[in-house]
Amino acid sequence: MSGSEFVPLSLTPMLIGIFAAIACALPGNFLVLRKQALIGDAISHVVLPGIVLAFLVTGSVAAAPMMIGAAGAALVAVILIELIRRLGKIETGAAMGVTFTALFAAGVLLLERSDTSRVHLDVEHALMGNLESLIWLDATGWHSLLDPNALAGLPSELFRIAVVLVLIIALLITFWRPLKIATFDEEFAHGLGIPTTALSLGLVMTAAIAAVAAFDAVGSIIVIAMFICPPAAARLMTDGLKAQVWWSVGFATASAILGYVLAGYGPLWLGGSDSVSAAGMIATVSGVILAVSALAGPRRKGLMA
């Protein structure tokens, strides 16, 4: 395919997909190791009421209020889960189930009750995103990457997810040591004077930021899939944490590229005429990667086996 077709139509969605996948996979590594994988699931559900509320308050679908609303909803959800767990002495899984379903239901209800016909805001969009529509109309070929006028027309989602990705990488490098210690031995970390509760909350908030930024561009299916599948697959490949993080980045990138290509061109190769959901396909590919590493990964059984 020529650059004049690839750059405007596929380059930006692909990059957004890759950035979103990595941004979710990085905190996902720690969520998986800390047995908090389903926090990612809960967060991605409660993003919906957050953005609906932000829309009702501001009356627009601008990015900033949406992100603030979603992050606020994630924080409320985390607090609610903790509150229900402590007040009711209920195990975490059930507390999460109670919280995220109720908040999601509230989001759907709010959406149905408010007039969103003017704007593009519906449950399906929230779930599946619309990666394919994030095209770069000003580009005419590879040379557009050096053309300031064309670069100004890049979809703003690309910029946002790139900033969030850089932020997450910076946080990861800064807090690597305490995070690593607290993940494997919380008691020991506590003994060293590491504020484990704050660290744990910080991790969840980082995951929420990743979820919100990725959600904005690609919908919540990718968010959950990328939180869990690449890190889980990576965990079956290696025992080292650093190696696991690198594997997960590789798997996330591979899922995003392969998924996008299969969704866009797969049906054409099979004789169809329309493309299928890129978000769904990226999640599916990540599942295939996980399945392969679960069947053949060198460390699939762990040290004891």
Binding site: V32, K35, A37, L38, G40, D41, H45, L87, G88, K89, E91, G93, A94, M96, G97, V98, T101, A102, F104, A105, V108, L109, E112, R113, V123, E124, L127, M128, I221, I222, I224, A225, F227, I228, C229, A232, R235, L236, A263, P267, G272, S273, D274, S275, V276, S277, A279, G280, M281, I282, A283, T284, S286, G287, L290, A294, R299, R300, G302, A305
Partner: protein
């Protein structure tokens, strides 16, 4: 309007939906209890999301054979097949790799759901698929429900409920203590499978009314709510069913009473409302009664320690203790004991000395074991025993 909806006077269709939702709620609440007691509540999330590809495949297969792809029975059968595959995947990942169950659940739910979305986009581009409305199964849709659909949902709900009733004893046993059940000769694996099968059935039956994203709420919230009201497993089951049924009935009625009130979310929110009420106001396990109990205990401890300090002539610095004692007129503002304060201090001291002696006496070993530094010995021993103790006390004290 709401009253009419509650009394089934809003027409045939609304009545069908309300009854169906109620039955579904009872079945889901009852079945969810075993899942909750087994501490595997979120496995249902993986099961429910894994129904989506099955719906898509069933539609494609039915269209390929020249049928109407929208046949609900066919769609539900397809959804059950992939939901089962999803459940097996969770169990396989959990057993054969070192991934923990939560990772397995998250992976399965997102991947199956993603695959389902891919299939939905395929269907949307087909000429038969444009009006398929399969996405209504995501959040449920009761508008224009056919009589045959309602009948199937009702029958499915009743069947699940019946099975749960028949097998409630072994399922409760396994949910409560699987090791004990295994030692007693139960086939834990098979009973777990049965529980999961029932959960799956509830999910499939609930797709039309509540939708696959929110059906987990009906499986999780009622048992969690019921747990506040009782400590007995068999009662959790019953209360959970009642709560689920009430949520289904009220939710469906409220949703029928006005436009733009989607049934599934309303049912879930009613359920959550019942949960919130229980969380705060349930006797003994509710937050409010815990708080009251905690305060009472705190007061008891501070009062006792304050009185002992008075008896020993120690000064009291602790603010709460001082406020407590002066409120009861036991001390003056400057911290000196009043007449009644002196009496209270003396009796607290006497009680303390009685206990000390009692704990040295082998004959009272059982009573001594209940010593918590708080209970008044006069409430524990009989008058005769107390008298005997006091005689001894007089002997040892010079």
């Amino acid at each position: 309007m709401l009253w009419q909806a509650l009394t089934f006077q809003l027409g045939y269709n609304a009545t069908l939906v309300t009854l169906g939702a109620m039955l579904l709620g009872v079945a889901a609440g009852g079945t969810g209890t075993f899942l909750f007691l087994r501490k595997r509540a979120l496995v249902s999330d993986a099961i429910s999301h894994a129904t989506l590809p099955g719906v898509g495949i069933a539609f494609l297969v039915m269209v390929a054979f020249g049928g109407d792809g929208r046949n609900l029975a066919g769609l539900l059968f397809g959804s059950a097949v992939t939901a089962w595959l999803g459940l097996l995947s969770v169990q396989w990942l959990n057993k054969n790799t070192r991934l923990s169950e939560d990772s397995a659940i998250g992976a399965v739910l997102s991947v199956f759901f993603g695959a389902g979305v891919v299939l939905l986009t395929v269907i949307q581009t087909m000429s038969q698929g444009r009006q398929a409305g399969l996405d209504s199964l995501l959040l449920g849709s009761t508008a224009g429900m056919l009589f045959s659909d309602a009948l199937m949902i009702a029958a499915g709900g009743a069947l699940v409920l019946g099975l749960a009733l028949v097998f409630r004893r072994p399922m409760t046993l396994v949910a409560f203590d699987s090791d004990y059940a295994a030692a007693n000769g139960s086939n834990v694996g098979r009973i777990d499978l049965l529980t999961m099968g029932l959960v799956l059935a509830v999910t499939v039956v609930g797709l039309k009314i509540v939708g696959l994203i929110l059906i987990v709420a009906l499986l999780i919230i009622p048992p969690v709510t019921a747990r506040f009201w009782t400590d007995r497993a068999e009662k959790v089951w019953l209360i959970s069913g009642v709560i689920g049924g009430a949520a289904g009935y009220l939710g469906a009625a409220i949703s029928a009473s006005a436009p733009n009130l989607p049934t599934g979310p309303i049912i879930v929110l009613v359920c959550f409302g019942l949960f919130a009420i229980s969380l705060f106001f349930a006797p003994s396990r509710g937050a409010l009664s815990s708080l009251i109990r905690h305060r009472r205990f705190q007061r008891h401890v501070h009062r006792r320690q304050g009185l002992l300090a008075l008896a020993n002539g120690h000064p009291i610095y602790e603010r709460y203790t001082m406020r407590l004692l002066s409120q009861e007129g036991l001390i003056r503002p400057d911290g000196v004991a009043t007449k009644s304060g002196e009496r209270g201090a003396a009796s607290a001291m006497l009680d303390e000395r009685r206990w000390r002696l009692l704990r040295e006496m082998p004959a009272h070993e059982d009573t001594a074991a209940s010593y918590d530094g708080l209970s008044d010995l006069e409430t524990v021993l009989t008058k005769d025993q107390l008298h005997e103790l006091d005689m001894k006390l007089a002997e040892v004290t010079p």
